[in-house]
């Protein structure tokens, strides 16, 4: 294929959700995945270098074009977007779920020292957290985990990209 890079750019552009290198290879057929990955890297670099209005980001296991940060205020104005604030309580709850998943509510409550019913419900509604299942202990408590949307919203490639949690020193030592 002659214009492989351009075609990959077009595919990522039209895709509504982040597009994985595997998916691109499947679409294109006789192409090596390594070439797809290399070209995606080139596209990302091109955007950076020419100071483009959009950047290629790796999120939730795929690639997606996103607007550059300093365009944010104008984009919000154009689209009439008024961000729904995530409360500090919900952010803390989200952090505990993200790092400790799969996790039950009792554990989140213990870490935060308060009841997290409210924040948890709001995170479920925002689809940043989901119910993964039930724990096989008495009372069958609900197990929570983060969603793919969580990765998309916070611009994370995958869970391993989470900022490192400060090491907890064991005081007993």
């Amino acid at each position: 294929m002659e214009n492989l890079k351009a075609i990959i750019e077009a595919l990522v552009f039209v895709s509504e959700s982040p597009l994985s290198a595997d998916k691109i290879r499947d679409i294109l057929g006789e192409v090596e995945k390594s070439d797809v990955v290399r070209l995606l890297g080139e596209i990302a670099r091109d955007c950076e270098e020419r100071g483009a209005g959009i950047n290629l980001r790796e999120v939730a296991g795929g690639f997606q074009f996103r607007t550059r940060e300093d365009a944010g205020p104008w984009v919000k104005k154009l689209m009439g977007i008024k961000p729904v604030p995530i409360s500090q309580a919900a952010m803390e709850t989200l952090a505990v779920v993200a790092y400790r998943q799969p996790v039950v509510k009792a554990d989140i409550d213990r870490v935060r020292g308060v009841d997290t019913s409210g924040p948890l419900r709001s995170l479920l509604e925002k689809k940043l957290v989901r119910i993964v299942g039930r724990k096989d202990v008495p009372g069958k408590p609900i197990i929570y985990g983060t969603t793919k949307k969580f990765l998309e919203v916070f611009n994370l490639k995958d869970l391993t990209e989470l900022p490192t949690l400060r090491e907890l020193k064991d005081l007993q030592e």
Binding site: E69, A71, P83, K127, K149, V153, F154
Partner: protein, 239 residues
């Protein structure tokens, strides 16, 4: 949906304690329990005087602090060599450190380029839609929340309206059919507007019962945007 992160003063007793430790520039591994307990209790008093309803967790931590304080006042009994009495503060410190780590992680997460707040993808921000590849776990408005909303609607109505008795007999089945018809036309309606169409008690109650029944039958769904957002009623299936 787009997001913005808001900072509150205290997110709970541990947060208050961390604040006091920072304010006093105290080493978290060597907390002067007497001083901190005193300040903690003062703050609880302040919060109470602001008419803030303090959750039980604040009281629990106050009790824990007082307990640790008293333990530290007791003379340390002579122990056999090598056996050291654990620091009564150890457990609390561990908890504080853990909480602090997550608090920092939350800040760090919020500091990332957040979708629909800092960066944007093509097209309108999604609202209730799920990311591709994910099984939907419906989080609907609970009956408890519906009852709360019902009480809000009732209390916002004019009392005199409520006293009027509509002589027209309305059956639950009629109301169910009406609601289904309205929803088929309007696609979605707010809970308040569905209830508010009727101003007499009997009709409001029947409308509410009809909504509950339809929810139970999974003919309709109720969604709420945010914890105190407007409750919207949708048809569960389009005809």
């Amino acid at each position: 949906m787009a997001y913005e992160i808001k900072l509150d003063i205290f997110e709970g007793p541990l947060d208050l304690l961390l604040y006091l430790i920072r304010k006093n520039e105290i080493d978290i591994y060597n907390i002067p329990v007497a001083l901190i307990t005193e300040q903690y209790l003062e703050h609880m008093e302040k919060l109470r005087s602001l008419n803030l309803d303090l959750a039980g967790e604040y009281l629990v931590l106050a009790a824990t602090l007082i307990h640790i304080k008293s333990k530290m006042l007791l003379p340390v009994p002579e122990e056999e060599e090598g056996e050291e009495e654990p620091d009564p503060r150890a457990e609390l410190v561990q908890q504080l450190l853990e909480y602090q780590a997550f608090k920092e992680a939350a800040l760090s997460l919020a500091g990332r380029p957040v979708l629909d707040r800092d960066v944007f993808k093509k097209g309108a921000p999604e609202s209730l839609s799920l990311a591709e590849g994910e099984e939907e776990v419906l989080v609907e408005v609970s009956l408890f929340e519906l009852v709360e909303a019902f009480q809000r609607v009732i209390s916002s109505l004019d009392k005199s309206d409520l006293l009027e008795i509509d002589m027209e007999k309305v059956s639950l089945a009629d109301r169910i059919n009406e609601i289904m018809e309205r929803l088929a036309q309007e696609k979605d309606m707010t809970f308040a507007s569905l209830l508010g169409e009727r101003t007499d008690r009997r009709n409001i109650v029947y409308t509410f019962l009809a909504i509950l029944e339809l929810m139970k039958l999974r003919m309709i769904k109720a969604y709420q945007a945010g914890s105190f957002g407007v409750i919207r009623i949708f048809l569960a299936v389009e005809n």
